[in-house]
Amino acid sequence: MTVLNENIRAKTSLNRKDTIWKKIVKQRQLLVLSVPFMIFVLVFNYLPIWGWIMAFQKFVPGKGIFGSEFVGLANFKEAFTDSNFINAIRNTLLTSILKISTSFVSAILLALMLNEVRARLFKRIVQTISYLPYFISWVVAVSIVYMVLSPSSGIVNEILVALGLIKTPIAFLGEGKYFYGVVALSNVWKNVGWNAIIYLAAMTGIDPEIYESAIMDGAGRIRRIISVTLPSIMPTIKLMLILNLGNLMNVGFEQVYLLSNPSNIDASRTIDVYIYTYALRSGRLSYGTAIGIFNSTVAITLINICNYISKKIDGYGIF
């Protein structure tokens, strides 16, 4: 039996001594399954990068890319000497950290809770309802947020005052310091149901026998959640965490832009809003591209760092 196994293994798995060509031949089926799609990625994702050259030019739409003047790092210099841009970086980081952490925790919590519900109908109904806000555009959603948080007529302030927690209504959207919280919470409200789907799918892969043995060991519900459910979806959690941290600089434009107004612009001016105001609206494509390159560079660096750290901690990394 062992010999047979090894023969079979030898067919497709690789030895150190194999040359790369031998490896390719051995795994040709896998390559057939993957290479065509990798070519897609190359074509549709990597080829357009040549457009990055716009960042080093003073792009004039009429002249096209070949006719526009080359200005080297001028665009980058301009961005980094603009105090509004630096302010934007700070706002982006603060908003992002708060947003990522809250959406993470809430999605996992929701998934865990749903997983514990045994009444199937209730579970299905809750799940379906919880992801409904995902489909509402941010325009409609922000309208609701403004209404609910209004100091004069919003329900949140009414409840807070009635409970005696605050004396006068708080203008949540009128002061910069509340902005990050509003972004994070409204994001949770809108997306938690949808985000939880991933973890729920991962949980279906848990072998019920593990639960059974945990019960036999005397583990209570909470103990089971912590020792069985959570560790089982740990790979998924780690994957999501790394991927999302790579997106640290990308808070999303629509939500922030819609929530911003003259009173809170100090806090709400994120990088995307900055690009919109200073680059897109005025057609300064070069400037926008330059900032975009900055964002991408940070993101790729971040994800490499996160991956490295993750591997150092427990050997798990996505690449």
Partner: protein
């Protein structure tokens, strides 16, 4: 509440401890979930209410759970007499189905290959794929590429560029990696090809994730309109439902003024105006309703646990 199979063997003390804890936990969970439902259902009901409310009256605000001045006018404006809608619907459904299938197929293949720790190019392909999530060449270079590939003004521009999605692939790969090797060992011993392993073993075992990815891809295809606008705007035969809806919204945003003014002059309730808000809410309801019917259908694939029969031992 059901009890699990094994509990009969437990000591009495253990059982009691679980009941109290069970109870508290259940109460906490049910209340939290109920609260969540209220908070997340409200905006949707609110949107529906607005969509059935007279547009001008809606401006006053104060609509919460049901319309104050019921009207079908907002939907009429969108659906009735709009010749483009039925063709757009056909295209939208087509791209959702075709895009869904191709997307899931591509994701499955690549995810499986990348899940194999012994894959020769694993350390190359994976970052190659993952990095695509964090950069983009920009709108104009992408457009020029599509032009040069002759994809502009075709149906395939909806399908091909987004077929291979890094995020989905990573997620599926993670799941596949969690499938114990024992399942595939037997097949390998029998000398099965990779294709067989993928489609007869991995695929059925990954149904929950496949269902999830299908949902993600389908929703993305269904909601897309920006690509229509850029690539196929000139071709009425290839526009999608979302695009047509956006067109109406853009139009409502621009004519809002004269419309209401003139309508008031007539003093005729038959001629109700529309506002951007009323179009937007009606649009949301029209777009979301099909999804609500599809998801429960997919939910049944979220079955707990792996099918064990016939493989172990």
């Amino acid at each position: 509440m059901e009890k699990k199979n094994g509990h009969g063997m437990l000591s009495k003390i253990g059982y009691k401890r679980m009941t109290v804890e069970d109870l508290f936990l259940d109460i906490f969970i049910y209340i939290s979930l109920l609260f969540l439902c209220v908070v997340t259902l409200y905006p949707f009901i609110n949107t529906i209410a607005y969509s059935f409310n007279d547009a001008i009256d809606s401006v006053r605000g104060g609509i919460y759970l049901w319309p104050r001045q019921f009207t079908l006018r907002n939907y009429e404006k969108i659906l009735v007499g709009n010749k483009a809608i039925s063709q757009a619907l056909f295209i939208s459904v087509s791209r959702t189905v075709i895009g869904g299938f191709t997307g899931v197929f591509a994701t499955l293949c690549v995810a499986y290959v990348l899940s194999r720790r012994d894959f020769v190019f694993r350390k190359v392909f994976t970052p190659f794929l993952v990095f695509t999530m964090y950069f983009s060449g920009g709108l104009i270079p992408t457009f020029i590429l599509m032009r040069d590939l002759r994809l502009i003004n075709t149906f395939w521009v909806y399908i091909l560029p987004t077929m291979v999605g890094a995020y989905n692939i990573m997620f599926m790969r993670s799941y596949i990696e969690g499938i114990p090797d024992s399942f595939t060992e037997a097949a390998k011993i029998d000398g099965a090809s990779e294709y067989r392993i993928l489609f007869t073993i991995i695929f059925p075992l990954s149904l929950p994730v496949v269902a999830t990815i299908t949902l993600f891809v389908a929703v993305q295809q269904w909601n897309a309109w920006f690509d229509t606008m850029i690539y196929n705007g000139m071709n009425p035969k290839l526009t999608t439902l979302q695009y047509e809806l956006q067109k109406l919204l853009t139009s409502a945003l621009s004519i809002a003024a004269s419309d209401s003014d003139a309508v008031l002059a007539s003093g005729d309730s038959q001629r109700a105006a529309v506002t951007p808000m009323s179009i937007r809410t009606a649009m949301t309801v029209i777009s979301v309703t099909p999804i609500l019917f599809v998801y429960p259908f997919l939910q049944k694939y979220f079955i707990r646990g792996l099918t064990l029969g016939g493989v172990k031992g």
